[in-house]
Symmetry: C2
Subunit: 554 residues, 2 copies
C-alpha cells in the first residue's frame, strides 16, 4: 500500500504551522488561468465535465433502488440530465459500518494519509469541479474554481491539521507504576486507542457544495468515522465527484470504499430526514439555511451537530480615509456571487448626519450614492463577479423586497437581469438596494438570501453599532465590517461585536472583503445564531473520536 | 495582584507533562497520615469541620431568599444542622453575568492562575473536607481524604492542563498578507480572542461531591465561564467549602466573586430544574444517576452537556495465575466504599465449568467461594474500607435483591449491618452477593447502586465475554476487568470491550482495582450509556470557549 502519509507529510506539517501562526498560505492553486495551467488542463477538465452530462453518474453503492437527481444549470436553464443512485438508507448503512473496524485499527496516520491523498486528487480535478459548480451552484467560473474549489480544499486540509493535532494529543501507550500502601508496587502497561463515534452525515449546501464538504469529510473520516455525503438536490455533481475520488483512494489503499458514500435526492423526494433520524448517525455536519440548521441543533440531541448557516452581515460606517475605496469594497460584497455567500454584506449602517471621509464632511446621501455608483461600476462587466442565482426563489425574494421599499423607505437601486453573452438564458439579478431607517428592522434583521441589501439610517455611529451588534447577537452574523478612522470608535466596535459573539473586520479596502482565509480566519464563531461550529478549530474535531484504554498488570 | 500563574506555573507544567505521557503522578497529598502531616493539621481540620456544625454556613450571595439544607450524617444519623442560602435564581444569574466581561478580558493565564490557586487552597483544607465528606457522602475517612479530596483535586488540575492546552492552541495575533489579482497586496493585522459561552452549571453527586466538581469548575472557569455549583442535597458542605475558597481567591484577585456561586437545595424542594431550563445556562456538567444524566443529554440540546453516570461494571474470568490474589482484588472492589463508586464491580462472569487457576482446574463454585471468602476477610475490619451508605434507599435495594435471589438463582452471601465502634448508629451494609445464570440478565444488567453484586454462570469464557460486553454497550460501563493467562483471550477481550465502547483492565491484583488515576486513566469513554464525557481530554474543554477575531487593514 502506498504510504500516503509520507507522500503528503510536508503538506500536513505546513498546514499545522499555518494554523498555529495563521499567516497567508494556500496548498492548492486558486487561479484557473491558463498562464499557470497551460491550455490543455482547462480544456480537458471542461471535456470531462461535458462527458458526464446526460448520463448515469458512475457510482456503485450497496442499496441502490433506482436513480434520482434533477439538476438544472442556472446558466442555461437546461437539465444536466445526470442521474445518481437513489439509496435505500437501511441497506446502505449496513454496508457502511462493515468497514469501520479495519478503518479504526488503521490508526490516525494511515487515515490522515488517505484524506491527504483524497484532497490531492480533488485538486487534480479543479477544472471539472469548477464547471460542475458553475452549472449547479451557479457560481462564476473563477469563483467556482477558487471558492468551492481551492479555498474549500484548504479548509479541508485545515480541518485535517486540527484532527491530526487532536489525535496526536493522545499517546499510544504509557508505563504507570505506584505504591499502594504496604502491598507493594503496582505496575501497569496502558494502551490508548482512538474510537470513532459512528456514521457522519455531511449535509452540503446549494451555493458552495464543498465548502463544508471537504472539512467535514476530513474531520470525520480522519478520526475513524464513515461519511455519508448528502448534497443539496440542486448541486449534486461536485459532491458526487468527491465521493468517487474518496472511494477510489480507499479502495486502492485496501479499505472498504463504502466508508464514503453519497445519498442524493430531489426537492420533490427529499432524503435528508431518514439520515438525521437514523440511530447509527452519530455526527451531523450541516451547511444551509438558519431555519433548518437550528432545527437540527435542537432536534438531534443524540448526535454531535456542527452547523454553519447564515446571518445578517453588517457594515457600520463611522468615518473613513478614502470614500471611493470603501464604497468599492462594500459594493464588491454586494455583487460578488450575487450576494449568495455566507460572508456577503446585507445591512449597511450609516449615521443620518453623514460621516467624515478623508477629512471632509460627507452626507448620508453622498455615502449612499457612492456605494450605489460603485455597484454600477462592477456591473459593467458582471459575469465574473456576479455569477447566476442558484434558485428561482431568489427572484421572488427580490420581487417581495422591491414591493416593500416604499412602505419601509425607498428604493435606492432596482434589481434587473444581467446580460451574459455566453449564456443568454442565465438566471441573474443585479443588486436590489433599499434605503431604510431602523424602524424597518423587522425586514432587514434576518438573512435575506440573494442580492438584497439595505442602507440603514442610524441616529449616530454608536446607534448604528448598537443596532448592527444587536442583530448579530440575536439573528446571527458571519462577517461584520466597521469603517472608522477613530481609534476609540474602532475599539468600541470591536468590543461590541465580540460581546455580541461576532468577529469583525476593520477598514478593509482593495481586496474582496467577503474573503475568509483558511488557516488564518476562524470562520463562524459559534456564539450567535449563524452556526455553532468553526472552520476550523480544535472543537471542530476533538469530540469526533473518543478514547478507550486497556491496562495490564506487568 | 498576586501572579498566581507564576506561583503555580511549575505545577501546571508538570500536569501537562503527566497528561502527555500519562505516568503516575499526584500534585496533592493522598494520605491523611499524621506521619506526613503531623498531629496538629488533622486536629485543626477536624475542629474547623466541627465548628461549622449547627450553624448558618457563611456564604453571602446575591438573591438569597431564605435558608435551605437538610444534611444528615450517615455515621451518626443526626442532622448536621447547617443551613445554606436558598437562592432566587433570576437575581443570582443577573449578578453572575456582571463579572463576565472583566473575567473574559483577564485572559487565559490569569484565569488559569486563579484556578491553580483555588486548587492549592482546597488542598490546604483536605482534612476538613474529609470530615465534611464523611458526614455527608458517608465515605470512610481515608477515602474521603483521597477519593473526594486529593484524587479529585488531581482531576481538577488535569482538566486545567487540558484547558491550558486548548486555549494555548489559539494564537493572540497574526500578520497576514497576500496579493489579490492586480490590485496589490492586502495586509491585515489579526487579533484572536477567546470568548466564554455563558454560565456553567455543575451538578455534583452524593457520593463523591467534588469528583466532577473540581474538574468541571476548572474547565469552565479557566475558559471564561462563570460557574454555578449545584450540590446534591445530601452532600452540600464539601461543595460549599469549594465555593467559599473560589470566591475568596476571585475577590482577592480583584474579580467578581459571583463568578463562582452555589445553589443548594433539599430533596423536598429541589432547585436543579430552574438551572437546567435557564436560557443563560450554556454548559451543564453532571455526575449522578444514569436516568437523570440521559434526560439531560436528551433535553438540554441548546446547552453543552458533559455527563458521567454509571453502568454495570463487569469482571470476566477466563483463567488466572493466582486465585486468592484475583479473588482478593475483586472482593476489594465489592467492599470499597460499599460499592457506591462509579468504578465498583457489579457483575462477575465465570464459566460454568470453571477455570484454570495457577495451572489447576478450579470449579465455578470454588472460584465463587474464594471471592466470598475474600470479602469476609475484608469485613473483619470494615470501617476504613466500606464506609457507610449515603442513602436509606440502598437498604431497600438490598432488601429487594435479597428477595429476588431464590427466584433468579441463589443467595451466595447475605448482607448485614457492619459494626463501627466509633459510630454505633452508622448506616451500613455488607455486600449482598447473588449467584445467577445469564437468564437473570434483566436484574443484573442495570447499575444497582450499593453493595449488590452477581456471580454469573456463563456457558463458556467467550459467552461470559459476550454477555459482559453487550451489557457494557447497551447499559454502560465505567470499568471492566478481565482475568486470563491466555494471550488470545486477552486480545479478544480487549477488542470486544473496545468495540462495545468500553475500557478494560487485565489481571489487576495487589492494588485497589477501582482506582482510576488522574493524568493517566481516561475516565469514562463517552461511547456507552455511562456518560458522554471523559475526565479529562481535549474534548472536555475545547468547546467551552469560542474564538472571535478582529482584523484590521494596515
Amino acid at each position: 500500500m502506498t504510504d500516503y502519509y509520507s507522500r503528503h507529510g510536508a503538506t500536513l506539517a505546513r498546514a499545522v504551522d499555518a494554523c498555529d501562526k495563521r499567516y497567508s498560505w494556500t496548498a492548492y492553486p486558486e487561479s484557473p488561468s491558463s498562464k499557470i495551467h497551460g491550455e490543455e488542463k482547462p480544456r480537458a477538465g471542461k471535456a470531462r465535465f461535458e462527458a458526464m452530462l446526460g448520463a448515469d453518474y458512475p457510482l456503485e453503492q450497496p442499496g441502490e433502488m433506482g436513480r434520482t437527481g434533477a439538476e438544472v444549470s442556472p446558466y442555461t436553464g437546461e437539465s444536466l440530465g445526470i442521474t445518481y443512485p437513489k439509496m435505500d438508507v437501511e441497506v446502505l448503512y449496513q454496508a457502511v459500518v462493515e468497514g469501520m473496524p479495519a478503518w479504526r485499527k488503521a490508526g490516525p496516520q494511515t487515515r490522515i494519509g488517505i484524506c491527504l491523498e483524497i484532497l490531492d486528487r480533488c485538486a487534480g480535478q479543479l477544472f471539472e469541479n469548477a464547471h460542475a459548480t458553475m452549472h449547479t451552484s451557479g457560481q462564476s467560473y473563477i469563483m467556482a474554481f477558487a471558492g468551492s474549489g481551492a479555498n474549500a480544499l484548504d479548509r479541508g486540509l485545515e480541518a485535517l491539521a486540527y484532527a491530526h493535532k487532536a489525535m496526536a494529543d493522545v499517546p499510544a501507550s504509557a508505563d504507570w507504576e505506584r505504591q499502594f500502601g504496604k502491598s507493594g508496587a503496582a505496575r501497569l502497561e496502558k494502551q490508548y486507542q482512538l474510537m470513532p463515534r459512528g456514521i457522519g452525515v455531511v449535509i452540503c449546501c446549494a451555493t458552495f457544495p464543498l465548502w463544508n464538504g471537504y472539512p467535514a469529510l476530513c474531520a470525520s473520516l480522519a478520526t475513524g468515522n464513515p461519511v455519508v455525503l448528502k448534497p443539496h438536490p440542486s448541486a449534486i455533481l461536485p459532491v458526487a465527484m468527491l465521493t468517487s475520488v474518496a472511494r477510489e483512494v480507499l479502495r486502492e489503499a485496501g479499505f472498504d470504499p463504502n466508508l464514503v458514500t453519497m445519498v442524493a435526492d430531489t426537492r420533490e423526494e427529499p432524503a435528508t430526514m431518514p439520515l438525521l433520524e437514523h440511530p447509527a448517525t452519530a455526527i451531523v455536519d450541516f451547511t444551509g439555511s438558519p431555519g433548518f440548521g437550528q432545527w437540527i441543533e435542537r432536534n438531534c440531541a443524540d448526535k454531535l451537530v456542527y452547523t454553519e448557516t447564515a446571518g445578517c452581515n453588517s457594515v457600520v460606517i463611522e468615518s473613513c480615509d478614502d470614500l471611493p475605496a470603501m464604497a468599492s469594497a462594500i459594493a464588491h460584497s454586494l455583487c460578488q456571487a450575487s450576494a449568495q455567500m455566507c460572508t456577503s454584506v446585507q445591512n449597511i449602517h450609516i449615521p443620518s448626519d453623514g460621516i467624515v471621509a478623508g477629512g471632509r464632511k460627507v452626507s448620508f446621501d453622498e455615502v449612499s450614492a457612492e456605494i450605489v455608483a460603485a455597484v454600477e461600476k462592477y456591473l459593467e462587466n458582471p459575469q465574473v463577479l456576479c455569477g447566476t442565482l442558484v434558485d428561482d426563489a431568489i427572484l421572488s425574494t427580490i420581487e417581495r423586497y422591491r414591493g416593500l421599499a416604499a412602505q419601509y423607505g425607498r428604493l435606492l437601486r432596482d434589481s434587473a437581469p444581467l446580460e451574459y453573452r455566453d449564456f443568454p438564458n442565465a438566471r441573474t439579478a443585479s443588486p436590489l438596494m433599499l434605503e431604510v431607517t431602523e424602524e424597518a428592522r423587522d425586514i432587514y434583521r434576518d438573512e435575506i438570501f440573494g442580492p438584497v441589501s439595505f442602507i440603514i439610517r442610524g441616529a449616530s455611529a454608536d446607534d448604528c453599532l448598537r443596532d448592527a451588534t444587536t442583530n448579530a447577537r440575536e439573528r446571527g452574523a458571519i462577517t461584520s465590517h466597521v469603517y472608522s478612522v477613530n481609534e476609540d470608535f474602532l475599539d468600541r466596535a470591536v468590543d461590541a461585536y465580540h460581546e455580541a459573539g461576532a468577529s469583525v473586520a476593520c477598514n478593509l479596502v482593495g481586496m474582496p472583503i467577503n474573503f475568509a482565509a483558511a488557516y488564518s480566519d476562524y470562520h463562524v464563531t459559534g456564539l450567535n445564531p449563524a452556526g455553532n461550529a468553526c472552520l476550523a478549530d480544535l472543537a471542530f474535531v476533538a469530540n469526533r473520536f473518543r478514547i478507550v484504554q486497556s491496562k495490564r498488570m506487568v
